[in-house]
Symmetry: D2
Subunit: 306 residues, 4 copies
């Protein structure tokens, strides 16, 4: 387990090292790494036609990791109306950020010292009317590329990583080698910590203060490989944070410095089983956020195709 | 223009002819036609790596076709909190059925004379707590198959079909031939009526009573080809309805009889342009509904990959 | 402490004894007891001009007694717009029934064996579109009458009643005598159990299964005095229920049999202090539910005027 | 009809003249004028026991004056659950500001050049987490005082005032004299413009840009009489605004300068009838806002007691 503390200066040096500000002008940041060539190559990986959802069911029950539960109301049942056919209809509402809903973080979700990705002022980019810059609409055409599952508990031979664990780049590299996965340009890297397996076994807790994730140095490894998206069954951040004064260093590095959207609270259990069964940890990964004008992200149902 | 009226008896005969009740037992109905083989074949169509969103932006402004607008609220801005990085967060809520939101209809959305797909009682399947049968969760692993755009206005050389128009099977067949598209097993058929082009040009109206769509006889053509999903820029139904006493015959035939999910209120304008540009009307179509327990459908952002 | 069990037959006899079906035809049930004369008399009790809110703050934090927390979102801040003056605006949403929000129960909230007040079928009265009969709109003109606080913990010399306690009519009568309050026609009876004092001291629990309240025999006493409304700092029901097979006998007797609206989850702490300070336990009580068409009740802020 | 234009300087002089900053320190502003003596005196006016709601039904239907309609969903019907009695339950959600919902404006709703009442900075007082100063919680104990209806259309012998009309102090004084109402300290002044009668007769329009209300000079008259609250069937502002560069001068003067809460979109039709019938235009007026932490106001159901 690697939770070595890091000073703010060391963090800042990493921030500068991985920063991609000014490289693209279409608002999609590192998703540009997942370009047409990557999409075609990823589609070629679909050889079995099997698909796996990487999302959890939206959860309407409050709990330690779900203080603002999704609301789901039937708005019409077949007890009203006279014309045939009759309709059953519902309303879904979600404050999807947090530790429960599988969701994508757009760049304007996160700012460091007042700046979102590209150095734009957060208060200029996001008002009470929503995000005018860095919003999820920039990703409206979806994200399609090769997904690579890095299954840390499998590598360690454990069921899950204990909260507090921060996984570093050497271990990620070992896992990739072990799996035969060469992480490369435009990949969607999904890091499994086993958080949900732990939740199933031991019950829910609040991952806001106690979670397994990545060590900030892992982001240098990610940046070198020019990944497009980072996802996890947690929110990619280890807590307590390894960095002094920065509660969510991975969020800051991915969203603010690199322009790498995050996928939080993914369901990687079924995926891990499928990967183990097929003996391959790469697949076509599809992510299509809702077109929420001004949205700081979106609830999503990413799907892996093998 | 074909809006020939049809008796209830004639409709019932079509219902029986296209009915697939009892054919599958996994709750996915005709989506089973889009099996592994179809998925692999569709993925092979991705040769340019270009992607097109088939959804509209969620619309928070009320209008004739949007009486229950989506609500989007910022729940947190960077004006609160002290720890770095800071977060901007939002809430999205939508009564997504209706004529505005791009959404998928699950089978339990619709019942005819009290029965949803498979002949299950609607009141048994769907209570105020949501759908226990026929819900969108049955489609949680997503729908991936070949999409085929049938562009009716392009075929007719018009900008859009006037509301009230009901497109029949002969014309669909002509369009398919003209485009070089052989509609076949497991296809997602997307029928463009130009409704949104009309809305842009002339302003919004209420399509509940006045819309272009399909004639019920078109569903026989669809059933013969064993399509998996039917989508449209409207809701696939022509209104006033060609069928006596049945306000939404296509909904009844697709959802209740055939087990074909519907994609309503799609954005087919960009897709039509892309198809015209590339000279091909087939593509990999991806649909990943949110995992809404008990949901009668889901807002979606379907994406076409070429 | 009185938690003697009661058979369903005994309960049914009480139900019949207190039933007021057919007595009024304006949908206001026993609120008719709080007629013009009672209103004038109650207003005459306002001699100090002091007011006390009987509501709690709406609670946006989930907890054992608040699984569906109120949602409160700022919809506009002064960071948008250009015209002066600028506006800050918000959205409030609440599933107000339950054990947290101070609210009024309209008659259609509750049914026994399928019947709401007046013997109307619940499924006929309330559909997915709301209540067409027995809704809170029948009480749109508000409820104004003499309020009487019956402070049970004060009488017993304890801080609160333990959950499970069911207070019977003899004790209510003793309390009324002790306080010098003659409960009479049209009164709003507020029974303090000290539930919120206990919550403050010991933390929240789920009162759905464990609560202090009234014994069903207390409702005979209430009916004999022809009260208009019953309120409590809990929801008036003691749980585990004293009645076999009836989880919320007081709800059934008050709402279904008597047509007595309930006020649940009231804040009676400040009121108890004020009553003690002034040495009087009667006051003008005001209740003005929101005009929610089809509502099964309403969040309210009842106020006592002394 | 009086719509004389006013310069910003003239407006500023009125602002200074009516300003009460620094007079009270309890956050209730001019509601302090409605003190215990006023409450007792107002209660004495209750001699008939008749009550009139001053609110409209919450409106779930979008329209020109209701772009963000209230949402009302049944969350539970008696089609679920097994224990007796069964419950019907609902959810109510409303962005209550605007031109449809009867609501109270708290002081933090409105700021002029960045300042809310008492000169507090709006951005300091209200964040995305709600209002920490000037919120509706300061009025949690309710507002009870003498209400006075000033019925302008009745005075003019018309059914309603045309939008654009700005009523000045001389006319208010005439109306008060005519009615025999001496407006005095702590009164809740309700100004009827007939807006809702016009809406009923002619259909809805958007009062944001076209409304009958008060001329800013009327606020001097109000301030001299030390009123506690101002209400109207519109939102008290005449539009187009008589003041250059100030879209809602009455909001600015009442909320920002005077600390006078506003009651917007009241139902004054039934009240006007009752007043005419009884030949008196004064009554006990009750207003009990919901206890919304951080709320910029609240939906309310004010009630007049005669």
């Amino acid at each position: 387990m690697m939770t070595a503390s890091m000073t703010r200066d060391e963090f800042n040096r990493i921030f500068d090292a991985v920063c991609t500000w000014g490289r693209w002008d279409d608002g999609r940041g590192s998703v540009n790494h997942a370009g047409p060539g990557q999409i075609v190559a990823a589609a070629e990986m679909v050889v079995t036609g099997r698909t796996v959802s990487l999302a959890h069911d939206l959860d309407t029950v409050a709990g330690p990791d779900n203080p603002n539960p999704t609301i789901h109301h039937m708005t019409q049942l077949s007890d009203v109306g006279v014309s045939e056919p009759r309709a059953n209809m519902d309303f879904i509402g979600t404050a999807y950020h947090g530790k429960s809903v599988t969701h994508l973080d757009a760049f304007c979700h996160c700012n460091l010292e007042g700046s979102i990705y590209e150095g734009v002022s957060s208060s200029a980019a996001v008002s009470s009317a929503g995000g005018s810059s860095g919003s999820v609409l920039d990703l409206a055409a979806g994200i399609f590329s090769r997904g690579v599952l890095l299954d840390v508990p499998r590598h360690r031979g454990v069921e899950w990583l204990e909260p507090g664990t921060a996984v570093g780049p050497d271990e990620l590299q070992e896992i990739a080698l072990e799996q035969g996965s060469e992480v490369s340009v435009g990949d969607l890297i999904l890091v499994r910590t086993g958080q949900r397996a732990r939740r199933t076994a031991l019950g829910a807790w609040d991952p806001s203060n106690f979670s397994a994730g990545l060590h900030p140095t892992a982001m240098v490894w990610m940046a070198e490989r020019r990944i497009a998206v980072l996802g996890s069954d947690g929110d990619s951040d280890a807590r307590p944070s390894p960095v002094e004064g920065i509660k969510s260093p991975i969020h800051a590095l991915a969203l603010v410095a690199m322009g790498v959207p995050l996928l939080d609270n993914m369901n990687l259990e079924d995926l891990a089983s499928m990967c183990g069964e097929l003996g391959r940890w790469e697949f076509l990964c599809t992510v299509a956020p809702l077109r929420i004008p001004g949205g700081t992200g979106s609830p999503v149902n990413p799907v892996a195709l093998f």
